[in-house]
Symmetry: C2
Subunit: 499 residues, 2 copies
Amino acid sequence: MSPRKIGVTELALRDAHQSLLATRMATEDMVGACEDLDKAGFWSVECWGGATYDSCIRFLNEDPWQRLRTFRELMPNTRLQMLLRGQNLLGYRHYEDGVVERFVEKSAENGMDVFRVFDAVNDPRNMAKAMQAVVKTGKHAQGTICYTISPVHTVEGYVKLAGQLLDMGAQSIALKDMAALLKPQPAYDIIRGIKETYGEDVQVNVHCHSTTGVTLVTLMKAIEAGADVVDTAISSMSLGPGHNPTESFVEMLEGTGYTTDLDMDRLIKIRDHFAAIRPRYAAFESATLVDTDIFASQIPGGMLSNMESQLKAQGAGDKIKEVMDEVPRVKADAGHPPLVTPTSQIVGTQAVFNVLFGRYKKLTGEFADLVLGYYGKTIGETSPEVIKIAEEQAKKPPITERPADLLKPEWDNLVAETKKLDGNDGSDEDVLTYAMFPAVAPGFFKTRSEGPKSVAMTEAELKARQEAAESGTTTAAVGSISYKVSVGGREHTVQVERA
Amino acid sequence: MSPRKIGVTELALRDAHQSLLATRMATEDMVGACEDLDKAGFWSVECWGGATYDSCIRFLNEDPWQRLRTFRELMPNTRLQMLLRGQNLLGYRHYEDGVVERFVEKSAENGMDVFRVFDAVNDPRNMAKAMQAVVKTGKHAQGTICYTISPVHTVEGYVKLAGQLLDMGAQSIALKDMAALLKPQPAYDIIRGIKETYGEDVQVNVHCHSTTGVTLVTLMKAIEAGADVVDTAISSMSLGPGHNPTESFVEMLEGTGYTTDLDMDRLIKIRDHFAAIRPRYAAFESATLVDTDIFASQIPGGMLSNMESQLKAQGAGDKIKEVMDEVPRVKADAGHPPLVTPTSQIVGTQAVFNVLFGRYKKLTGEFADLVLGYYGKTIGETSPEVIKIAEEQAKKPPITERPADLLKPEWDNLVAETKKLDGNDGSDEDVLTYAMFPAVAPGFFKTRSEGPKSVAMTEAELKARQEAAESGTTTAAVGSISYKVSVGGREHTVQVERA
């Protein structure tokens, strides 16, 4: 029997640098790998999402739509894939359905093929509109299960959610493990459950981060359970808070009943490309190598550092232990939302408030919204006492309907607002940029004509940094430095540079 | 059914820092972890071997026997484990049987419990004497299969070797994958083969490096095949050319039919201990994160850099590609020895010679010895032509007997030689140190009384280095630096230090 072919989604262009380099990679550092990415045989290349879009306009002075068109042009043979936050699109609030439709249409038109649609609290109603819109364009709609661990999250619950996504038109199901919490056995059980309940031909994609060090084994068990496509990142952009290395995944299957058919020569070229690029982004590197603490604490690394800086700002840096103990209670009271953006920030900040000001004495607006249902319905039950407090403090009622149903059509307004901004080019794409990032878009439109501004080190800067680290004692070669120097008993201010 | 318990050997004290930090870790940086290592529930703690012994006397001015006694005292409840190069002991030549016996006796007496006995070319005759000696002391004799990939290495061959080791008195079999070449399926097949052929109760230990990124999956499959004990390293001393993280291994088994029963609170303390230590050895860190090239090239990273520096020294740095192409031929001609110390150096250097001077125009003494059988018998057939050339150049005959059979009793001689050395303390341990490292021991004996000399950075140096790397432009705080500086047109030599 010939081995079963496993598809691979390469993450180098989106989640890998988002997880490892604070999403700072510039398009100019990606284009050189595109031909090999296009011809290596990937099921898809993930290349777009909320953080990359945000980073383009906030840090890189790049038009994210231009980046997408560049990818489309350079990778004509490969499915381009994006991550879409359901009704939030790539922004941080719910959008009215008309805006969701426009966004999906424009993304498809500019070249997107696969839309991985997810919702932070796993509320299918928050994914439905985006999924419909994708189906309408004829592109691939992928429904997503955000994996987390809690007393109310069960294999059966995840399998049921998969069914709801399929009912909504999902052409495949993504099992998304953003915190590297998915262990081999539950992965096996969930995927087996999906396949046995809805049919072996239901396509299942698996996305795992590598933070906890266990998830390459998870991918192996996922495949044994019938998974069809897995997400990996080329080795030079892998591990730590990122993902499992593509080449290792390919190699580990040798002799098993599975194969990827990826072209290793192409993979090596892609690897070498990013191996040369990555050190120039060293300033944005995360220090994490392996961290299994999250299995016990349920607190992702990013959330922890966030809470720490909030406490420090309040002169209460010594209370981190108390806050960490408070997180599980707040999470439970909110109905056990998975702790990912934005719920991780919302729960974490409320835990900080509880410790600083007394439990639920002061709610953040976002936490009130969360418990009142304005982010959708969590799987666990929300504490009735906390709902009552939220209702009083926020002065609005709890809701049970789909949050976006409360919104009025807003497209024409957004068009009008965008037209007022200097440098807008009159396109629907610009309206969408403004809609999703109203605070950042105006500045970006103004400076867009100046072209991309990389935040990577130059080769010279990199070399200087490396030399400085190696010697630990020398003045590096970047420009000159002023010193106060005593010569013959007299003090001078002098310029010094490397000879 | 309760889950099957898998034993774990922790590598932090030996192979982890050997692989990640050039074996430079001082005993003083280990003792703080010993109580937790002793109480975490490990099957064994690996803590001694050739490179650590060498490093103690060469770089750290530490007596390796004292290190062993320290471990014994601080870890009274745990099996201490060492890696022993069979008839080579911890040195680089074959020793006469009497020396082998003494070494094993003294090691047992000083506290060693488990002897993992291996031979670079997998010749059982090179392991037999050491194994017998271990059995005689009543300690645990572990016979080792060095895993490699070649046209002549087969699952059946490895299973057969396991049988030979068991016949020699091995109480367990180690499957040792020093180059991270062991993929999940072959691991499964070899271990299943051993268990089915010799009985399910034959203890199998698995040792994998993590260089290629695939081997945590290998450990999973090894366990499914029946492996009893696996080697891992605490996460803060893991990955890259090192090993899979202990905590990740523990976590990944949740919900499967296997468990480790390790104490996670202890593991976290061990992790934190080494997380604080490791950065002070940054100067010795390897840069490798994941490297799957070895699957194709068969050339371990250390061997490659070795060949490169040899070529550069000859002004032929541009010939590395030719040399890499030559390696497989030389390896085949030598009967496909696994490429580990010392065979990797021997084969690599001969490949360099072949490219520089013409194929087999000039043989190294070691390569001649290898093909003439003086390192033992390789599994593949050695090229008759090359044997003939070696015989002519080295002016000695090929041998088929066990190499150590050619040696005469040498203990009394070694005692006499050692007694002549300043600073020797008259112990058998000193004789063994001199026997194994005759070039280094005399200097060590002389300086031993000065006590351990750590090569780690101090906390202050570490901080300075980190600041230098972060700024990339500043003079760091370690001491002062001399510059040539022009002030008012005149050149001065000045001392500069951070204000």
